[in-house]
Subunit: 457 residues, 2 copies
Amino acid sequence: MSDTLGIALIGCGTVGGGVAHVLIAHADRIAQRAGRALALRRVVVRDPHKPRDPLIPLDIISTDIQAAIHDPNVHVVVELIGGTSTAKQVVLDALAAGKHVVTANKALLADAGAEVFEAARRAERSVCFEAAVAGGVPVIRALGESLAANQVTAIQAILNGTSNFILTAMAERGLSYAAALAEAQKLGYAEADPTLDVDGSDAAHKLAILAQISFGVAAKPHEIARQGIDTIDALDIRFANELGYTIKLLAEAWTGGHSHSGTGAKLSRGGASPAAQLTGTPTVALHVAPVLLRHTDLLAQVRGAYNAVLVYGDVVGETLYQGPGAGQMPTASSVVADLIDLGVGRAQRTFAAARLWSREGRGFTVEPPERVRSRFYLRLQVTDRPGVLADITRILADEEISISSLVQHEAQEDGGGPVPLVIVTHYASTGRFRRALVRINALSTTAAPAVFFSMGD
Amino acid sequence: MSDTLGIALIGCGTVGGGVAHVLIAHADRIAQRAGRALALRRVVVRDPHKPRDPLIPLDIISTDIQAAIHDPNVHVVVELIGGTSTAKQVVLDALAAGKHVVTANKALLADAGAEVFEAARRAERSVCFEAAVAGGVPVIRALGESLAANQVTAIQAILNGTSNFILTAMAERGLSYAAALAEAQKLGYAEADPTLDVDGSDAAHKLAILAQISFGVAAKPHEIARQGIDTIDALDIRFANELGYTIKLLAEAWTGGHSHSGTGAKLSRGGASPAAQLTGTPTVALHVAPVLLRHTDLLAQVRGAYNAVLVYGDVVGETLYQGPGAGQMPTASSVVADLIDLGVGRAQRTFAAARLWSREGRGFTVEPPERVRSRFYLRLQVTDRPGVLADITRILADEEISISSLVQHEAQEDGGGPVPLVIVTHYASTGRFRRALVRINALSTTAAPAVFFSMGD
């Protein structure tokens, strides 16, 4: 057996506590699988007096980050403080001190991946981050190693468990958005300020990381078009259900070549503009948005706080990875898997071979979201008056958007008030659809801004 | 970039042709991901005159296995001939000649894993086999690497695409078993002799491999209790559906400690006898059988020829891996991933650390299937005569098996003939249930041998 691998944990909150517990409680198992002992040598916290897992020896707990990083008996620094300022400094200092880094910090990688990975290559050390996307679901290894023979042509993923919990509660129990959110907060699935979860930002960070691995593009999260679930009304869930669909918040990547891969009907929604397909330049469109999926779609069946990633590879076809996307122990499982990989010596090989966030890309450029073609679900509140439908359908026709189906229920008893009108379109470019929306919203008969979502087929 | 990795392909049928195609057509991509070129140097076939993929240079095709194995420019031998006689000799010869081995041969590993892996350790070479289980679904990496922090406590898997295709066709389109099998054969999902697929043998081979990785047990496939789908009647599919269940052929592993892991309701079916839980000896029960799953279960929703593996880990909880379980390109995707891993140098680390099929186990012993506790679905054809139900329920009571629900439809118009009777039991040990069956089958009122399946909850 080789030498012991010494570990410093920077941050010991929920996930950190889980990592410490697993490392100590299952030390024998981990040593057997890593081929060497993994020893937790340092735990750095903000408040050393807070009660913690009794398995953690008190004498390894401190508040001194630098002492932990520079401890010669520490070989790996696990960054679990989150955020992008202190965390980034910790990671860069650790690498400069010759330590490997394991992190679950999606924001750090999405925002500063190039800087961090360049520092790691300079220091000839590795950065591992399985826990940064989809918690306990090993999607980083799937994309980077298991599917290495493939060019990924599309990704469709449920990456935000909070949003999926809320949408599931709305769909299955008829809750309003507000009631479902309140329940998610009560159960600890949503923060007091849930903005980053429900507006799609969290999923955009994770999508940026997956896009780097699969397409070599360094998309900044704020550049990724996103629409959250906060505009979804119980009415939309009901209409979608009537039409045979379930609404899910999806993070998606579609390549220009995707519709050519011939792996079946799922691929009809292509991310490519026709122009991109003609020139042959590989492009990828990235976006986070609520999408209407057929009830029988694999991702439509992912319930509650689970995450799932559906990957289309040009050799393998379609594979799905599903499991708990957050939480103490699922995330700890991924962090410890990275530590075992470092112990085995696998992670170092993977890091060197993958050359992530390096200057050599894979030739992909990011497609402007306006050019993505999709079918759309459009819900309007319109005044029940002659000519309303003629105005709306004329605007859509002007943008060459044709209508696949239209549902207008009778007005409620008192009549004359706004009534919901739902239109499902055929394929149209996002840009043209949004232009039509602006005009529709400006109609005097439109009582509230239009609500719209992409269709998954 | 390091030296080129030279590859010999032994066997160039469907999967071999796919591997050759991917290696040649995507050579640049593969070299980039492996950090070195992967060159197909030799392709050994039985009939060199058969037309093949035009990408394969004719001058590397031959019939000489030994020349390919001993070619100094070959570093990896890919065994794709299948079976256990010639294939085993090829693998042992390749290892003795100092070559790494990649194989998709589940039968070879399940039957002779210990011999093959011992030879590899002696030769200080690696054996990779992602393609041997679940085709394009990377479950070997998931169990061996991604979930390395976990002790797996249970596996439930759809590992035979043929059976799943047949069951899906029966359930969704009301086909008879014979008609569904004929369709599977026409579409190439089933062999002319489908025995090994439909009787559970194929799934048992794959389960033996998963059990070695997860529990360190070397169960021989013929020792794994198995029941195929060939006894399932359209009537059972209908009754199951009425009760809210879907029938799937599952390969399952349940550990004695499983019901203690506390990850929720899915765990109510424990593989452990109460005795095993008390003594604390880790045990695992392995079996392949049709199981009634609730319509909402993840595995109930796996349709057609797909494979899916649901893994319960004691740290992560439940994760699912799903995708194409067979076919040319999905299997080639896994074989080439193994080759890239060898190119990167990852596979060698993994092989050394995993110590599979070695003498050092993980303390697990295989539980006799009679002790597995489950609920059961039991369908009888009984003569419609007074006292029939009394006799049957008495026999079940004698074995302390209590009844959860019972469905007896009215006899058809002509009366007096055998009528179907469906009983769902509460938890019972398989041994006692089978004892009861013997007595029930011996009743003069039992018109045909009882049909029974486990319940997934």
